[in-house]
């Protein structure tokens, strides 16, 4: 009787604690009991795969995973989360020692996760022939030299395979150019800054004669677009060894000033009040803006707009402008990786799954056909896809520009290859004084920012060293 009583009491206490745990989460709207178990599989053939994405990602991965399960006899559990909660949930899973066997990882997280022994080194698990058929950037983005702290160097171990590479391309409104009787920009050769400004001026007009501009040359958000122009002027945010902030060079200041002057001096962008990203995005799709970014994840939307409004909107991809004729153009290239847990009980099988998800031809075809991403596989992307599949699926005429970015013109966003991106984030705090109000010249701004950014970069390296020492 007493034993029964004690057991009942124990259950009561446990229940009360459970209720306390659940109720304590009330304000955030979450429910601990609904959280999926993200821990890795226990049985020799069990794997968990945690990722984020839309319906097409899910469809593609269900196809790839079904084929993988059939081929290997594995039993894969998929855990999908909202995109904006993924990073936080993954970190919570790591802190709670419930790391999934296979999961998405951002390139910027590699260092911290490797130092904390979260990621498995995939070098020995993946055949060189597989690596040779993936974009260099797709693998380099996950290479990390644990000894020197260097990132992206060919030959170093890699800790993830690419889910995708995301080229941030530049585009123009083909219908607007035709309507204005202007010659379309070259799909192969970049314009110079001067040529771009000249074209943008011609595109900026008051179409209905009411005294107010209703069409502009461009409208670019500085946080996502200035990289291409700064790189196109031969400048950069950081030195090659990732240890010195280089924003205070004359080339950098000139490129940034030129970017700001597009709106402040040349008047070829909507005014500061009108220039929210959302607005210029909408204006671009409404056929009011001549030049605007075009990335793979926009293609589906842009195609729909072009189909609905063929008289005002059509688009194609071109290289980003450069400062002077003959300069090399560049733009940023994003990526998301598929990693394997260092503590997975089925590491080899997990590495096989990561390889499958990254390189399965059928999955790549589904993702490319639905305009989610360009294919990871070089032979398919540069062959059959570029020749027939891409155009048939509705990718833009000059899709080869995306391939070119993935192959050689793309660079990671500054801050991706340092332990933390705080130094780079800091650059944008106060940028409005240069590009929106013109209260400060670009030269003054970058001179003032360099010291603060360098301090944060140094701190990032110190933190990296400490993380390495702590393990």
């Amino acid at each position: 009787m007493r034993k029964k009583g004690m057991a009942a009491a124990a259950v009561t206490v446990a229940g009360a604690l459970l209720l306390a745990a659940c109720s304590s989460d009330g304000s955030s709207g979450g429910d601990a009991s609904e959280e999926p178990d993200t821990s890795g599989g226990d049985a020799p053939n069990e794997l968990t795969f945690m990722f984020r994405g839309g319906e097409y990602d899910k469809l593609a991965y269900e196809t790839a995973i079904a084929a993988f399960e059939e081929e290997t006899g594995a039993d894969v559990t998929m855990i999908i989360t909202d995109a904006d909660q993924y990073a936080t949930k993954l970190q919570a899973a790591i802190a709670g020692n419930q790391v999934p066997d296979v999961f998405y990882v951002e390139p910027g997280r590699i260092q911290g996760y490797v130092y904390a022994n979260v990621l498995a080194d995939l070098t020995e698990y993946v055949d060189q022939s597989v690596i040779d058929n993936i974009w260099d950037f797709g693998v380099d983005a996950y290479r990390f030299n644990v000894e020197t702290g260097e990132r992206g160097l060919d030959g170093d171990p890699f800790f993830a395979l690419p889910k995708d590479v995301g080229p941030f391309g530049f585009g123009y409104n083909t219908v607007m150019f035709e309507e204005m009787g202007l010659e379309a920009p070259s799909p192969d050769e970049p314009m110079t800054f001067a040529e771009f400004t000249d074209l943008a001026k011609q595109l900026t007009v008051d179409k209905d004669g009411d005294g107010e501009l209703d069409q502009w040359g461009t409208g670019l958000n500085v946080v996502w677009n200035s990289q291409a122009f700064v790189w196109g002027a031969g400048a950069d945010w950081i030195s090659e060894d990732q240890k010195t902030v280089t924003v205070d060079t004359p080339e950098f200041a000139e490129a940034l000033q030129w970017f700001a002057d597009l709106g402040l001096v040349e008047g070829v962008t909507p005014s500061a009040e009108q220039a929210q990203t959302l607005d210029t995005y909408q204006r671009w799709m409404a056929g009011e803006i001549g030049f605007f970014p075009v990335a793979p994840w926009d293609i589906g939307t842009y195609n729909q707009v072009a189909a609905d409004n063929p008289d005002t909107f059509g688009y194609d991809v071109i290289p980003y402008p450069v400062a002077n004729a003959g300069d090399d153009w560049a733009t940023w290239l994003g990526s998301l990786g598929i990693a394997v847990s260092e503590n997975s009980k089925n590491k080899e099988l997990a590495a096989q799954l990561a390889t499958y998800l990254s390189t399965d031809l059928e999955a790549q075809k589904i993702l490319a056909e639905n305009k989610v991403q360009i294919p990871n596989l070089i032979d398919y992307a540069t062959g059959e896809w570029l020749e027939t599949d891409a155009l048939a699926a509705g990718w833009p005429a000059n899709t080869k520009a995306f391939v070119e970015i993935a192959q050689e013109k793309g660079r990671p966003l500054p801050g991706t290859w340092t332990y933390t991106p705080e130094w780079y984030d800091n650059f944008w705090v106060g940028i409005e004084s240069v590009v929106d109000t013109g209260d400060q010249t670009a030269a003054d701004y970058v001179a003032g920012k360099q010291t603060e950014m360098q301090m944060l970069l140094d701190q990032s390296w110190v933190s990296a060293d400490q993380a390495k020492a702590q393990g």
Binding site: G5, L17, Y115, N117, E273, D279, Y419, Q466
Partner: protein, 316 residues
């Protein structure tokens, strides 16, 4: 005369009393045990879910910790960094600025409660309408308001344009970004405060108003001397909980101005803490800021309790 004492019966009674006392003691012991077990539940809960995390946080705030690997003790370094970090102070200032919305929201709620307490047509409908934002997802509301604040196409500026007012580009203007978030927060919290005030207003005895009316008090005097003091416990509760909730403002900022707004004008302290913890892998530093915020909220709450006690009164 000899007295016949039944010693056997006495002994038996004594024995019985003893047995009864023993049984009582046993019962008491059992009850005490059960009482202790049931009392242990919240105590263990408090230890496991409050004291331990709090102690852990205090310890973490004195360490260099990225939230992934091992911690290393660095003493007061995080606190020294915090004092010298201009972004901490700016985020703290922004957070304090958001509190301006609390008295405005409470005043509006009380006005609404007074209106809804009257027998006006459609009052059930209005009560429902005002309460809808309270039960709506904050993330969804933040996205809707982000559109509403759009400089060109937003509903807010379209509404202002009806009166000939050219609205600012709310979320992109450092001057207007914080007021924009305050307006949204007031709108979101109005229904909850109104419901509490409504209950308090309806609980005020009618006899007080009748007596005041007989003494010649006008509507404003009745409101100031009867309604306001009588709803003060609710006001106190709302001020305390709103300050605590306001100090934790995060979701709407992260959705509406994910980079901290123009010139960092909307970054709240919790948003900065979250960025340091999860984006910049400075969990130790983030914890020290969280503790400072917690202590500041505690101090403000204690002051409020003191002030409330000093102004306390009761009706005989």
């Amino acid at each position: 005369m000899a007295i016949d004492v039944d010693t056997t019966s006495g002994a038996w009674t004594k024995q019985r009393r003893k047995a009864s006392q023993k049984a009582n003691r046993k019962l008491h012991r059992k009850e005490y045990t059960w009482a202790a077990i049931f009392m242990a539940a919240p105590v263990i809960g408090w230890l496991a879910f409050l004291l331990f995390p709090l102690g852990f946080s205090v310890y973490a705030s004195f360490t260099n910790w990225n939230g992934l690997g091992a911690m290393s003790w660095i003493g007061l370094d995080n606190y020294v960094r915090l004092v010298n970090d201009p972004y901490f102070w700016k985020a703290l200032w922004n957070t304090v600025f958001y509190m301006i919305g609390i008295p405005i929201g409470l005043a509006l709620s009380l006005l609404l409660a007074l209106a809804l307490a009257r027998r006006i047509p459609g009052r059930t409908f209005f009560r429902t309408v005002y309460y809808i934002p309270v039960i709506s997802s904050l993330a969804a509301i933040a996205i809707l308001w982000q559109w509403a604040y759009n400089g060109d196409f937003g509903l807010v500026n379209q509404f202002l344009a009806i009166f000939g007012i050219e609205g600012p580009n709310w979320l992109m203007d450092p001057t207007w970004s914080k007021p924009a978030l305050i307006i949204m927060a007031i709108w979101k919290g109005l229904g909850y405060s109104t419901i509490l005030y409504l209950a308090a207003v309806q609980a005020v005895p009618r006899s007080l108003y009748e007596a005041a009316a007989l003494d010649g008090a006008n509507a404003w005097q009745r409101f100031r001397t009867i309604t306001l003091p009588m709803v003060r416990p609710v006001t106190f509760f709302l001020v305390v909980t709103n300050i605590i909730a306001g100090s934790m403002i995060f979701t709407e900022i992260n959705i509406m101005t994910p980079t901290g707004g123009p010139n960092w004008s909307t970054a709240s302290l919790v948003w900065y803490i979250w960025n340091q913890a999860f984006r910049n892998l400075s969990m130790g530093y983030a914890t020290s800021m969280a503790l400072v915020l917690g202590i500041l909220v505690l101090i403000v709450t204690v002051i409020q309790f003191r002030l409330n006690r000093r102004n306390d009164f009761s009706i005989e």
